[in-house]
């Protein structure tokens, strides 16, 4: 909401650094020369047509996809071909998926507390207490002992956010978190994300929700054909007075 009121220290080191990053799927050049720095507590919204590489880009940041060329440094660790323990790096970045990807055979409580217990070796009590706090934060503590199949889409996505937060990540990646939701459930998920942004989480959000971008983003990035075409603060990005790149203008005309 008050994106400007957050104190982004000018002297801080960027938490994510990408330099000249390239990726191919076989012959298909999906990411071309991506260079980008993200500061701690920054909320970055990535928009663009489908197939533009936005999802692939954020999946490279927790190495669900491997880039082939260039540099990615996340929280001081370079993601390269000789990274020894990829699981350790992934703990620091939470991810929320378009299709929720909750574990259907586990209760909501177990979905959230499993990773802290397995990966961080927390005691069950501590993990479940933390899970309950997170469920309260996303507004559905009463659903703790249900299974994902018993929840609505919006509730499932809020559980997915709580699951990612349980690992206490420094960065949260959102891959079209509201695209699979019924219209009336989009708001409850966006509200949780806004609250998260207010508390100073570093967030990279791939979304088609322009309202969210306007309201919450510190910076909007427009991608097309695997390139970053244009970026800027939302007030400039959605303003008519500024001359946009023709491709950006075309996209904005389509959706606004």
């Amino acid at each position: 909401m008050e994106a400007g009121s957050k104190q982004v220290m000018a002297g801080d080191e960027p938490i994510i650094i990408c330099r000249e990053m390239n990726k191919w799927f076989g012959e298909f050049h999906v990411l071309r020369n991506i260079s980008l720095e993200v500061m701690p507590q920054e909320v970055l919204v990535i928009i663009g047509p489908s197939g533009s590489g936005k999802s692939t880009f954020i999946r490279c940041i927790n190495r669900l996809e491997e880039h082939q060329d260039g540099t990615i440094i996340v929280d001081g660790i370079e993601l390269s071909h000789d990274v020894q323990n990829i699981a350790e790096i992934r703990r620091e970045t939470g991810m929320v998926f378009q299709q929720f990807n909750l574990f259907p055979h586990l209760t909501v409580m177990d979905n959230i507390s499993l990773a802290p217990m397995k990966v961080r070796h927390w005691a069950r009590d501590k993990a479940e207490q933390r899970a309950m706090e997170l469920l309260e934060r996303v507004g559905i503590p009463e659903q703790a002992y249900k299974y994902p199949g018993q929840l609505s889409g919006g509730q499932q996505q809020r559980v997915a956010i709580a699951r990612a937060l349980a690992m206490e990540p420094k960065i949260m990646l959102f891959d079209e978190p509201t695209s699979a939701l019924d219209p009336e459930m989009i708001k409850e998920v966006l509200d949780v994300m806004k609250e998260l942004a207010r508390t100073g989480m570093t967030m990279l959000v791939v979304t088609h929700e322009m309202g969210f971008a306007r309201e919450v983003a510190d910076r909007v990035i427009f991608m097309d054909m695997g390139r970053i075409v244009e970026q800027g603060p939302p007030e400039n990005f959605f303003s008519d007075e500024i001359t946009h790149h023709p491709r950006t203008q075309e996209f904005l005309d389509q959706i606004l």
Binding site: L64, R90, F97, N101, T107, A115, K118, Q150
Partner: protein, 337 residues
Amino acid sequence: MNPDRDGPQQPDLNEIIAESRGRAMRFARLYTFPYWIVFLVILGILLAISILTDKVYSDIFVQLMDGVDMTLFVSGASYLSALTIAVIVGIIRSNPPEAPQTRQTLRKAILRWLRIAIYNVCTVYVSVMRGIPILVVLLVTAFIVVPALRDLINTSLIGGIRDLLDDPDIPDLIWRGSSSGTAIVALAITYGAYMSETVRAGIQSIPKGQFEAAYSVGMTYWQTMRSIVLPQAFRNVLPPLGNDFVAMIKDSSLLAFLGIRDITQIAKTSSGRSFRYVETYAVVAYLYLTLVILATTLVNMLEDTVNIERETPRLVRRLGGLLPGRRKRKVIPETFD
């Protein structure tokens, strides 16, 4: 719905619906009742009575009962071993090798080629074992592999130890080719190959997103397999795995070729003496049928318990599900708020 709208003298529509729904629920068991079990139980009892009241049949029955132990022991032990092989090979084969996307360090390249080698060895194993009749595997194991292996161990390993310790009294390893141990090995490696394909199919039926979600919270491949993928995969493949258990019980009759005293072997020798082939094999069929139906029922109950959607298959709950009347009700999804 507003209850006052139609006036107080009108019967409440909600009440009528609730009542008729209640009626339907009361008779629900009529539709879902397992009539087939009743049929099979009655059939079983009638056959049991006709066997036990006839002197000839009951004599044969008592003799054959001696073999039930061996049949159950060998099929049970083989099944558990086969399942172990199947899980290991199934996991390996569910993850076929891919070309690297990035430059490789030496360490990663060595690991990758090790994995490629293991994958290919497992694939050869599955293809070969599925292509050879079980009987042939059994005979080859019993009369070629086991004696050769035993002689090798005795001459090189035990002989070596003897020389080393300078003690000629260390005994040779005794391992008869035609023993139940051999039969278990033969059945396990054959069924392991078949069942590994079932396990692989189960693992590959789990959406990729489940792996990605687990990876994204920092879980490793093995943690993901154990806590996320295998529990879901096993639910999906319980019916075919149950099928294999039933088939295993019946295929254990091949033990008779090694002269092991299971049901079939006893039937062979006993009918050879008494010339009562029809009576003997009728009882043999009855015994196998009973065992198989018991096994099927157990598998069905297990399936029912773990298939209650969203239910965690803990052992206690499984056992609870086996007791009559303690079956958990299917959860009716509540309205979303």
